[in-house]
Amino acid sequence: MLGLVALGGAIGTAVRALLAEAFPAHAGISWTILAINVFGAFCLGVLLEALAHRGPDVGRRRTFRLFVGTGVLGGFTTYSTLADDTAQLLDAGHWTAGGGYALLTVVLGLLAVGAGVLLAGAVRPKRAVRSKGAAR
């Protein structure tokens, strides 16, 4: 499992590094990192909710969650770059830009997870819905 997480993390990190290099930051603000973080949060919201609808976190579902969720999406998104970029903006006296960038990222991340959860709920398998209804 550790190897799978590491492999996924390497893939996610490589994609993030390539995107960040292709679309560099402007005036200390990296909209690329913001987009990566928000998109990654959306994908993790979809993934975890969809897996939860399909059954307990064991076997193939757990393997998939650890590879794609913990590994790829965990490595793709980054908190340290968000914090470091924000600290540099604040240090340079750009308080509005720094505070705005950081808060916007966090709020959009939460909204993205919410959207992902709703999407996964809308396309959940009928079998799971029926068994949940029968349990009531």
Binding site: M1, L2, V5, A6, L7, G8, G9, A10, I11, G12, T13, A14, R16, A17, L18, A20, E21, N37, G40, A41, C43, L44, G45, L48, L66, G69, T70, G71, L73, G74, G75, F76, T77, T78, Y79, S80, T81, L82, A83, D84, T86, A87, Q88, L90, D91, G98, A102, L103, T105, V106, G109, L110, A112, V113, G114, V117
Partner: protein
């Protein structure tokens, strides 16, 4: 970034992700009800990235090291997606105060840690 640098950054990210998986597992086995593991990971990773960035800006370490250890390892170690999901989970389980602590508190402490790291790195 050439191919070798990209591979090294990816390896760094893999190592970072594995460290996150191990540390989060250790914390989860001891602390329930609050996702402390991700908080510790993101704050410590922000401190280290700040330190590496500061050291790189001061010319103490080469920029390639900042890329591999910072963009790669610390980027793979810290995670925004899990932090966001865990905040939403706290909200959904009726813990709005803990959700604010996780969402806003993590941001403030991580930025403070990165600022401290930057200062240490630039003045070392």
């Amino acid at each position: 970034m050439n191919t070798l640098e990209l591979v090294l950054v990816a390896v760094g990210g893999g190592v970072g992700a594995a460290l996150r998986f191990l540390l989060d597992g250790l914390v989860k086995a001891r602390v329930t009800g609050f996702p402390l593991g991700t908080l510790v990971i993101n704050v410590s990773g922000s401190l280290v990235l700040g330190l590496l960035t500061g050291l790189g800006q001061a010319g103490t370490i080469p920029l390639q090291s900042v890329a591999v250890l910072g963009t790669g390892m610390m980027g793979g170690y810290t995670t925004f997606s899990t932090a966001s999901v865990e905040t939403v989970q706290l909200l959904r389980s009726g813990k709005p105060r803990l959700a604010v602590l996780n969402g806003l508190g993590m941001l403030v402490v991580s930025v403070g840690a990165a600022a401290l790291g930057l200062w240490l790195g630039r003045n070392t």
